[in-house]
Symmetry: C2
Subunit: 132 residues, 2 copies
Amino acid sequence: MEATAKRFRKRNAILHCLRSTDVHPSAEWVYEQLKAEHSDISLATVYRNLARFKERGEIITVGTVHGTERFDGNTKPHVHFICTACGSVLDLHQIAVPEELTKSVSGIGQVNSCHLTFTGICNECINKEETA
Amino acid sequence: MEATAKRFRKRNAILHCLRSTDVHPSAEWVYEQLKAEHSDISLATVYRNLARFKERGEIITVGTVHGTERFDGNTKPHVHFICTACGSVLDLHQIAVPEELTKSVSGIGQVNSCHLTFTGICNECINKEETA
DNA sequence: TTCGTTGCAAACATTTTGCAGTTTC
DNA sequence: GAAACTGCAAAATGTTTGCAACGAA
């Protein structure tokens, strides 16, 4: 099996981890997840591969939340909501950036991507606050 | 003059610096600008005041470009273009996020802000590349 | 006297890098 | 053997904090 070639085991694991979650993880989170299966994995490997994936467009960056970069294995354009209280990042699949908007950007340069992000307080954090 | 009270001179200078530029500066950039007028200013003061302004909504964060946070003294909602080559951040005043979009987000929590960002390569960098 | 602001240096957290060891071709 | 991937530890980076000094009320 090519996919399990020892050479790429960790790289594949990192990509798979990103693709199979919707928490928009940080490097640290991915590292923690993979430690179970790959007890000898190093954080540097996670960072190196995240950088590589990003370069190749296999993953995207959602932004920096509370000082740490957050990634998304879903590269299809979609909208995000970032809770500034707990730092969670949620997908808003029901919304899309109208194509006309993107088109009207030409003239400033070569546009490679477009990212719409809402920030606020998620329902969970609002409830916590009320209960407290 | 209240505005020039020694107590707030540097804080005012920092805010004024942000309000009177469209480069979407980093903390370091603001610091460098202010050194001319305030030779004894410290980077910590810049960071402290930027955090304060952000908290109070007097400035906003545009995002993190090449590892450093970039600020904007213009808090009116507007769209940005980030050049991933040179790291410059440009305003796209001609575009606006349709209100309907924002409205349809309710349900996920309390939305405080919304930010649309395009990334790509600015014309200047494209030209540099071609000439090279 | 009490409070808020600052400079300085130290601390901090995240991310990147150098190097040696290993695997694949 | 050459090239690619990795772990480890060290380094680099951007940002925050503790503290003493100062200024304003």
